[in-house]
Symmetry: C2
Subunit: 374 residues, 2 copies
């Protein structure tokens, strides 16, 4: 089967991810990245996880890419500049091309919203890419919904994933996971570089998770500079989410609208938002997921007896290369388990603060959701 779109990653068999100890000459098995625009032959990826760029800039004096430790770009007789990266982690990475001092997107890549701008991204095939691949299985639907928000006096956008069969089985109602992006990202991120809909399609086809809705909206995180995140006020987003979006979703989709059937998770700053909002609203959410976004320690919980009674899951994850967070997340998860909470910890092998960690986190968390019907 031919694969047409994003998150397909069906093309490249990987001999293995060799890390930094590779030979100085890149392996000559380059193939076009699956994240390229249609028909574009560059950037290319090789079996070491290096990326090779080709930028046509005949009159430029200097071309470079934002990946650190990349080779210097050199210009060929055809005017095109060629350069390549060190071996990168498996998964998805944002990048920027610089041409004579101008930071621009690579015109060959598709564009993703991250680092607070629409820009380039490249996909390094992962050895476990099958779980987020586009396959010939029943597909749910990702729908763009627009809702009016009185508190911000704006029409806001959300994306809602409905599982396969939602539009046919009109008597069935579904639990809901509210799923947040990170700082510098937006409501598009989970359905694009996150492959959330494909992860759910594949899990549901394998009967590995209960079908549920995903709701993804902009977490209002980008209005504050990255260096001042501690000053972030959760209040305005909490109002949009709890007073406006959730009632809208429950009124216009066939949800199960009780606390037992509502979860919230988020990555990075979206994890911070999830922690703040879920701990303040224990009667609204029963399942909590923090992906590379902090952890919940017993001392974060004011009334542990009430929390144990109401909460059904606390899921915390990190990439193994996020060493500090991973260490403290694991300790906190264990302490929470000792306190009687259904606490799960997951560590994504050989990834850092990046999308493969978060795709895997969703894949690991989904089967744990909405399983306790007591």
């Amino acid at each position: 089967m031919k694969a047409l779109f994003s998150c397909l990653c069906l093309a490249l068999p990987l001999a293995g991810h060799l890390g930094l100890a590779q030979s100085p000459t890149p392996a000559d098995d380059w193939k076009p990245a699956t994240s390229n625009q249609p028909g574009k032959l560059y950037p290319q990826v090789n079996s070491e996880g290096r990326v090779k760029f080709r930028i046509v800039a005949p009159e430029a004096r200097n071309v470079s890419v934002s990946f650190r430790d990349s080779s210097p770009f050199t210009q060929g007789e055809d005017g095109a500049w060629i350069g390549y990266t060190r071996p990168l982690d498996e998964g998805f990475h944002y990048y920027t091309i610089t041409i004579d001092g101008a930071e621009v997107p690579d015109p060959n890549s598709r564009f993703f919203f991250g680092a607070n701008r629409w820009g380039s991204g490249v996909e390094i095939p992962a050895h476990d890419q099958d779980f987020y691949a586009l396959k010939n299985v029943p597909h749910g639907r990702l729908r763009e919904v627009l809702f009016y928000s009185p508190s911000t006096d704006s029409v806001r956008r959300a994306f809602v994933y409905t599982p396969p069969g939602y539009d046919q089985d009109v008597d069935q109602r579904y639990p809901v996971l509210y799923l947040q992006h990170g700082w510098g990202e937006n409501e598009y991120s989970w359905g694009a570089q996150g492959c959330a809909h494909l992860i759910l399609d594949n899990l549901i086809a394998a009967h590995a998770t209960r079908p549920f809705l995903l709701v993804m909206t902009y977490g209002m995180t980008n209005e504050i500079e990255f260096g001042r995140l501690r000053e972030f006020d959760i209040g305005p987003f909490e109002t949009v989410l709890l007073r406006e979006l959730i009632p809208f979703i429950d009124a216009t989709f066939r949800t199960r609208s009780d606390q037992r059937h509502r979860a919230m998770a988020g990555l990075s700053m979206g994890g911070m938002e999830t922690k703040l909002i879920t701990l303040r609203n224990p009667d609204t959410f029963s399942h909590i997921g923090l992906f590379s976004g902090g952890s919940i320690r017993p001392e974060d919980i004011a009334d542990m007896t009430a929390f144990r009674e109401k909460n059904r899951l606390v899921f915390v994850s990190y990439g193994s290369r996020e060493e500090r967070g991973a260490a403290s997340g694991k300790v906190a998860a264990e302490a929470l388990k000792q306190a009687g909470v259904n606490s799960h910890y997951y560590e994504s092998p050989l990834t850092a603060h990046e999308w493969l960690s978060w795709r895997r986190s969703l894949y690991q968390m989904a089967p744990l959701l909405f399983t306790q019907e007591r």
Copy 2:
């Protein structure tokens, strides 16, 4: 109300579109384009419909934009290059920035698929922009659907617009308009730069059209070079559309699946596809729309008696600045009317082969669809 996204165009009151006879000094009432990325102050648009660009490229020797007759870009002491265009037609235009010979997207604009690549676009507010503005009215939903196509052995994407209330009134069934993009565009185009969903939302809120579904998929037009369009074979797309997509839509959405309630329209090369497919399949489609994409003359119709019996509408439109097409389209539409067909011709004032012509065409055609229930 604050407007957050594309196709909003709420910001700029236009004193009037002055054409080429403007003063040599641009009017100093620049405002950020509504097509910019969040928070970006450039490009800017003034009341003459000129666009001003700011490209940070400190070491570059030459910066330019693809709009013809633009001013030469000049570099300021801050390293940024500034340049501006002639007054442009109202509406949406694709463009490219060139930095020392490298054609790249403007990092400040949002990205749209056109000219066979994801790249920059700019929105010049139109005097009639209200019809495609995002307003606080009930909104339909644009959903991404994935369907398996045996004939191409691929999972293909379509976007389906369902009108407000579709997910609530589960007994109601709806007519369907299959709506095609042009060469170099794809299934995203009508729901992005086309504002098709907002046009329908606004028409439905005003009770000016019957609610119907829109289905937009990739017309397989980009596999052939622009100069060789006459060699285009409609067969593969006709198979995907008629044997695969339409049955999938009728099976998974609440459609009215008879010929009377199915329409097809397209712009430019999508109009050519519409003409070929609808004339070959008179028992499948009852309403036909060609936007800047040819016309249907009486001599194109093999059996006029049968066509008159089965067809409910032939809608042909052009921008007034597409002079040759507009002239022949008008003549053909009149001849078809004389032959007893429900033939409508629309000419978009002061626009060329561009999206404002096509937004207006959809707005004009929609009220004429599915009105004859005999």
